[in-house]
């Protein structure tokens, strides 16, 4: 198992942070470029490409994708993918912090349950790491 930056688990954490940043950047860009309701291109999403925020999000997506490919090379998909879903906790928190979106008590509870699930999935990881 490689240490430091090239450790697959470090890359998995980096991938989650980059995905979170990408989602927030893309949301900012998408909001700025939303087309009128009923327009022919309403559900194509291509108007989002006019925003620099979307392109910043695309850059983060590409970087997260490179990390993800590295993760896939070393960790089984059925383990890596559930753990990568820490973004479901990180994105709402990021939306609250950076986009001023409201987070209700129930949503905070949901985030806590997601994190509990991640702990359960991550527990067998130490034994898996020995195998790797």
């Amino acid at each position: 198992m490689k240490r430091g930056f090239l450790n697959p688990w470090v890359q998995l954490g980096l991938e989650a942070l980059l995905v979170t940043a990408a989602e927030i950047f893309i949301k900012v860009g998408a909001t700025h470029t939303a087309t009128a309701v009923g327009a022919p291109t309403e559900w194509l999403g291509v108007s989002g490409l006019m925003s620099g925020w979307v392109w910043l999000g695309i850059l983060c997506t590409i970087l997260s994708f490179i990390s993800w490919l590295y993760v896939l090379k070393h960790i089984p998909l059925s383990i890596a993918f559930p753990i990568s879903n820490v973004v479901h906790a990180l994105v709402p928190v990021g939306s609250w912090l950076f986009l001023a979106e409201a987070i209700s008590l129930r949503r905070w509870c949901g985030i806590a349950v997601v994190l509990a699930g991640l702990v359960i999935v991550a527990k067998p990881v130490s034994s898996l790491e020995e195998k790797l």
Binding site: A34, W43, T61, S78, N85, H88, V91, L115, V121
Partner: protein, 114 residues
């Protein structure tokens, strides 16, 4: 969520899951001693296509919904991905993994229901 939005979401999740399975298969194949470059590139290209379709549909959905509202709907992809990994990639699923994945999904549904 309206009918067309739900349909777009289903296509988005399907593209995402297909993309993930093909990319994992490509990266696993690339590690083998005897590697068919054509096979790896085909799998990789298929994965990229699935992810690209998913990306543009995500962009369209984000133009209509708040990020913290929309994102949890993608939670269904967790269960679909681990089932697809077991079926198509022959990965072993432990009870603990399934339990954890179900808990993550429940948490995400709780987030989306708020």
């Amino acid at each position: 969520m309206k009918g067309i939005a739900a349909l777009v979401l289903i296509i988005e999740v399907t593209g995402f899951v297909v993309g993930q399975v093909l990319l994992k298969h490509a990266m696993t194949t690339a590690k083998q001693e005897v590697v068919s470059k054509v096979k790896v590139m085909s799998l990789f290209a298929g994965g990229i296509v699935g992810m690209t379709v998913s990306f543009f549909l995500t962009l369209a959905l984000l133009q209509h919904f708040e990020l913290s509202y929309f994102f949890p709907f993608q939670s269904s992809s967790i269960i679909v991905v681990i089932i697809a990994a077991a079926v198509f990639l022959r990965e072993r699923l432990s009870t603990q993994l399934i339990l954890g994945a179900l808990l993550i999904t429940a948490g995400i549904i709780l987030v989306s229901a708020s």
